[in-house]
Symmetry: C2
Subunit: 146 residues, 2 copies
């Protein structure tokens, strides 16, 4: 079990709980790197378990793979995150969570005001604020109102 500490993909999958296909996908996206055996099979460092753990946790906190890659690539030498890296990153995640909670609480307040109103008017309903959605590129409804 420790030929130079290199792990085959299945072992890494077993240790992280990820699917083998997911790890290959992450490699493809540049989130993780692998050595190859002469027979072209992937071999990972033990520290990659930690790197994947970081990915999983950051994901759980709502970061997308792109953002995670951005964080990871900020690390010198592409090393696995250290304590101070983690602190820096987790503090920025903390404010992201705060913001989400703030928005949801605001929505809940508006909803409470709205129950009993029932107007469903785009002009007047506090729940429906056009500024929240306008200008968001990509998917989702656009917004211009009378």
């Amino acid at each position: 079990m420790d030929k130079n500490d290199l792990l085959p993909i299945g072992e890494l999958a077993r240790r992280t709980g990820l699917a083998v296909s997911a790890i290959r996908f992450y490699e493809d996206k540049g989130l993780i790197q692998a050595f190859r055996t002469m027979g072209n099979q992937r071999r990972f460092l033990r520290s990659d378990v930690r790197r994947l753990s970081f990915i999983l946790i950051a994901q759980k906190l709502g970061l997308g793979l792109t953002e995670i890659e951005a964080e990871l690539s900020k690390l010198p030498q592409g090393r696995t995150p250290s304590l101070s890296d983690w602190q820096r990153i987790s503090r920025s995640m903390r404010s992201a969570i705060d913001e989400k909670i703030r928005l949801l609480t605001l929505t809940r307040t508006k909803l409470d005001e709205c129950i009993g109103c029932g107007c469903l008017s785009l002009q007047r309903c506090a729940l429906y604020n056009r500024d929240d959605r306008a200008g968001t590129a990509g998917t989702g409804p656009r917004f211009v109102l009378d």
Copy 2:
């Protein structure tokens, strides 16, 4: 502007802020219905502005189109939501929001405990609860880490 109060799709789009393509998409999904002119053009009732407003608001509260359709189809005659319909639905949305806030707050607490720890251990990190994801298959230690 009121030939029998029937609106062409562009007018409905203008009044709701939705893209024309989005309205056609909703029609296709059965969320809304249209009459047709002899020339095969869609004509909507004025009350469909309200119906679409309902869809937009419910969406903003986190419901998917499928769930929204389920709510709308509970209404007798497929009519546009009335005050009491709205109250019933909005109360169930209120608890969905409560639940979301609860989960986020929990995560934030765990994150606070975790800053300064930096272990990134799948075994110990409170942020990473394996029961959330791992398939239970397989015996032995699932997440063995450094």
